[in-house]
Every structure is written in structure tokens, then in C-alpha cells.
Amino acid sequence: MSAPKGPSLATLLMAFGFPLFVLLAVVTGFLIAEQGGLAALSVPDEDAETPSADAATLARGEYLARLGDCAACHTARGGKPLAGGRAFRTPWGTLYSSNLTPDPEHGIGRWTAAQFRHALAHGVGRSGLLYPAFPFESFQHLSADDADAIFAWLRQQPEVAGAPPENTLEGLAGWRPALIGWRMLLHRPWALRFDDARGEAWNRGRYLVEGIAHCAMCHGERGRLGALDRSRRFVGGRILGQGWVAPPLDRESLAHWSRDDLAGYLRTGVAPQASAYGPMAEVVGSSLRHLTESDARAIAEYLLSLPPLPQRPAPPARPARQTVGPASTALYEKHCADCHGRDGRGRARVYPPLDGNPQVVASDPVNLMRVVLFGAAPPTTPGNPAPHTMPPFADRMPEADLLAILNHVRGSWNNDAGEIPPYQLRQARALPLE
């Protein structure tokens, strides 16, 4: 008896393998096209093109490099400017910024203008695919002229020999070619086009916000594998690797800001509505303080025009208002009222208001807890060279008193936020300060 004769392996492969192969090829081709096509992945060859380096170009390059805050990420603390090596903690391990000085060995000394433009536009550099910690999703919007000006300015900076430490990323994240997969699934280039229906200033503001200033890197919501969701790029949320929340940016969240106040805040770090603390203090102190007044106003105009997006619903909590009483009022008046006022209205540009302050009533109150626990200081800027500070209270009173004060400010005046439970305060205490 012979076994019933089934289809041979070759027949099977012909029947299923070939269509499967075709399907795979089509899907791969489609996804490669979606992430910018093969052109995005191929770095331009060497060319002799030298961008113009006249004084005006260099000045523009320097201004843009400051707005892009290149030096903040590409300089280690106390290290040589732009020599790289600043550590970025991510859920996948630690990443170190690269050397941006004109050093031929470790920096961009051998790069051409076309290669620099390509890296900004596509996130693919001379040495290969770049991690999305480099904000190419914003820098793709830079004009070629502006990219060239930045490159020209960088080329004039002092050379620093030396490579940053090796990244310590785990699993697939540590294998650079895997970024192709990441890009196929998650990177979707898009273009800004001048909106004729809006004025010059609004378009300039959008160009800066969406491009060089890369606001979405912190103010956007990160989804799968750390990718920014384009449709939720100003929705706010926890900043990756840092115990801070970036507030949402849209006309409803910013309804209590005037255009002048917002423009002033960007340049000075203080406004009647808020002072810049934490990561925003760094951004203002090293970057936005250099904004021209007209660019600051352009950014404010654009931000105040953005349509609001639905926030993630906050988990239900007991209203903090229920904890407000004579005991919490006495604590508030003893420790807080001298500066923030019994009415919680603060003092314009000196002590931020607490009444109606979105950071005070935020559903994720981490910024409020941090500022009360560890204190806070706005950056020094030409417009605010001698800033007022918030003292740290972490070791000055028992936990119960800290909670009473926190919940007092969340439930007093017009504020009606949820109560902070003790465990949340303990979590905030454990946050890294640096």
C-alpha cells in the first residue's frame, strides 16, 4: 500500500509561497514608500557644493541653531559646546547625542551641505539611520536655505575631537538597522505649505513651531515605540524620560493667555500666567530667549490658533475641594500666602498665580508636586536677569501637611481638581532631579 500522494513541496511553494512573496514585497514596498521612499534612505554622495558663508547667512544660521537649541542636546553638562555626549534616558536605554562640531573624525567635518540637509529632512545621516530622539520629524519642515545656513554656522564653530559614549540601548532598539522597521511602521513625512488664508505672521509662527523649534518633541503625545502621533502633536503629556508634564498647546488650553503675554513668556520665562520651570526653563534659558520680538509674536499667534484636541479622560478622583478646611487654610496662609496671596492670584511675572493655573489643577499633577517638593527657578534671561524662586518644601514639613497644602490649592478659589492621594506624592518624591 502506498501512502496517498499529496502535492509536492514544489507545488505547495508555487501555490502559496509565490503569492506570499509577492504580498510581502508589495507591503514592504508600500511601507518603504510611506516612510519617504528609497530616496529618504540613500544619503547623497559627496559633492563639492559649499553653501555661502557670508555674514548674513552665518547670523541667520546662528539664530536658527539657537531656536533649534542644537547646543542644549549636543553638549554634555559642563562640556565643550556642540561636542555631544549628553545622555538621554529612554524606556529602551540611554542614548548619547553626537558631536556636531566640524571635527573631521568625530564631528561633521566631512559632511556636505546636501548630506546635512538630508539628515534634517529624512533622519538619515552620513553614518546611517538616526534615532527619532533627533527631531527630524520637525526638522523635515526646514527650508533648504535655512538648513544650509545652520550648516554654514556649525562649520564655523570650534572643532572638538572626541566621540560621545556608546549608546546603551536594549534589544532591537540597540540595532540601528531595525530603525527601518520603525520608520516603515511609524514615520510618515508630511509637508507644510504656505496658507494663503492666513497672514505672514501666522505662517512664520507655524514654520518655527512645526520646524526648527520642534515644540512637538515635548508637547506631543508619544504612542507606540516612542513615535509622535502627528494628529496629537500638541496634546501634551509626560515628557519621555523626565518627570515633567508638558501642557497641551491649543487655543482652549491657552485661553487665559494674551498674544503679548505668551510672546513675552517665550522670551523672558515669566508672564502673569506662569513662570517657566523644569524643561521649559531650559528651553527658554538656552533657546527661546534669543527669539526676535516679531518671531515670538508669530509663534504666539500660531499657538493661539490651534484647535483643541480631546484629552485622555482623567481617572475619577474625590474632589480636592472636600479636603479644604481651617487646617489646610492655616497651612496655606503660613507657607504660601506671602508670595501667592490669600486669593491665590500671585504677583504678575514674579510669583505665578495658583487660582486658575492649569498646572495646579492638571489631572496629572506631577509638575505641581515637583515644584512644591523641590522648589523651582525660572531661567535668567535678558528680560528677567534676576529671577524669583520657589523654595523646596520636601524636608520642611510632614507628608500630611504637604498633601494638605497641595490639595488646598487644587480645591480653592475657582480650582476644582481631584485630590492627590499619598502614594502619588511618594512617587513624585522619587523622581530624578537631574
Partner: protein
């Protein structure tokens, strides 16, 4: 309204980053965060056993320490967190403010009791050093009463024991650095941990005079080359 416009105009007429004139009260108001651990005028805060006082210390020393926290030569997360976005001009102003405050008699708990033998060994090292080990006396730079020296050498008398041990230990383990040449790193490298404890306990037990001020800058070179102790510019601090 007109007055406001005028004031605003004046504010913009200032050169970029120029600091306004601020009296002591205005400075103390701005530095509420410092007061929590160091006292409103840098005199030390009750219950803050570990934290050093700042009042009356040489401005160049205070400036170099703040710059060190900001730029990564010194490590204390709470300090770094509060100062990392401040420029040199503001740090120099803060240093001058605390330096100008009256010297203080520290209020922290007395140091642990020291045996007579330990005390005498510490006293010898502090005031005479040890030629055999090329170890200069603390007093040769920090002053015969350990009252400090302009512009960059701090007073040591009466600092908290724990604080002194932590700082000397920091140089020993490489956690604390001064501007190069880092003379204190070289001094501490010649000490052993038992000596560090002995010296710290002895220094913590010295009670400075109520009106003690740092010595004038030395005309002679100090026994060691110290990068952090050279010069101080009240408008800009000093470049490392």
C-alpha cells in the same frame, strides 16, 4: 500707565542681561529657594544640620561652587536642579550678596567628642601640616583662624562635621572637583580616611569670632596652585 510705559522703556534700554540694582532685601526675596537650607541671609537654617552657611564666605569661592554645580564639577541634585539655567552674571551677584552678609557663629549641633590624642594630631595637621608627606597646613591657605581668604578660599571653622567629611570624601572618591589645578584633590589624596574624620571633627569644633571675615587676598603665592582661588569679577564671576 505713562509711568509704566516709561519704566518698560527703561527696562529695554538696559544692555542685554544687565542686572538691575537690588538691595539686600530684594536679593533675599528672590533667593527664597536658597533660604530653605542656607537661611535667608546665608546664616544657616535651624534643623539644616548638613548644609553649610554661606554668609561672609569669599565671593569667588561661592561663585565657583555654584558654577561647579551648574557645570558638573560638583554633584548635589537639589542644587543643580535649582541653578542649572542661571547665567554667570546672576551667580556672581548671588555670590556677592552672601559674601557681604555678616559672618556667623554656626548654630548646628556640636561635633562628636574627640579624644585628646586625636585632637592633638588633628591640630598639628591643620596648623603645621606634614612636611614628610608634602602636606601643607590647612591654615596656610585657609588662614590661621581658618577664617578663609579672598577671593576663593572658604572658611572652615565651625562647619558641620558631616558636611566636612562629605566634601573631603568627595575629593577622595572623585565626586567633587574644583577648577583645575584642583589643589584640594591633591591635598586629600595624601590623607587617609581616619585623618579626614579627625580633621573634620576638629574643624567643626572651632568657634569663629562673631565678626570673623576672610583674610585679604595673599600677596605671596599660596603653597599650592589652586584654579578655584585666583580671581573674582563681581559683574561676570570668573571663567573656568
Amino acid at each position: 500707565m505713562r509711568l509704566f510705559a516709561l519704566l518698560a522703556l527703561m527696562a529695554f534700554a538696559l544692555p542685554a542681561g544687565a542686572l538691575p540694582d537690588l538691595d539686600d532685601e530684594a536679593m533675599a526675596e528672590r533667593l527664597a529657594a536658597c533660604a530653605a537650607c542656607h537661611g535667608p541671609r546665608g546664616e544657616g537654617a535651624p534643623g539644616s544640620e548638613y548644609y553649610p552657611h554661606l554668609a561672609g564666605k569669599p565671593a569667588g569661592y561661592l561663585f565657583a561652587q555654584m558654577q561647579g554645580f551648574r557645570d558638573g564639577r560638583r554633584h548635589y541634585p537639589q542644587m543643580v536642579y535649582l541653578m542649572r539655567n542661571w547665567d554667570d552674571a546672576w551667580l556672581a551677584r548671588i555670590a556677592s550678596f552672601f559674601a557681604a552678609q555678616p559672618g556667623v557663629v554656626p548654630r548646628h549641633a556640636p561635633p562628636p567628642v574627640q579624644s585628646a590624642a586625636d585632637r592633638s594630631r588633628a591640630e598639628t595637621l591643620v596648623h603645621e601640616g606634614d612636611r614628610g608627606r608634602e602636606l601643607p597646613a590647612c591654615a596656610s591657605c585657609h588662614g590661621p583662624q581658618l577664617q578663609g581668604r579672598e577671593p576663593g578660599v572658604p572658611a572652615l571653622a565651625g562647619l558641620p562635621t558631616d558636611y566636612l567629611i562629605a566634601q573631603l570624601g568627595g575629593w577622595m572618591t572623585g565626586a567633587r572637583h574644583s577648577i583645575e589645578p584642583d589643589c584640594m584633590a591633591r591635598v586629600v589624596a595624601r590623607l587617609d580616611p581616619a585623618e579626614v574624620r579627625r580633621i573634620a571633627t576638629y574643624l567643626a569644633g572651632l568657634v569663629p569670632e562673631p565678626d570673623s571675615r576672610p583674610l585679604e587676598a595673599s600677596a605671596e603665592p599660596l603653597p599650592l596652585d589652586c584654579g578655584g582661588a585666583t580671581r573674582f569679577d563681581p559683574a561676570r564671576g570668573v571663567a573656568p
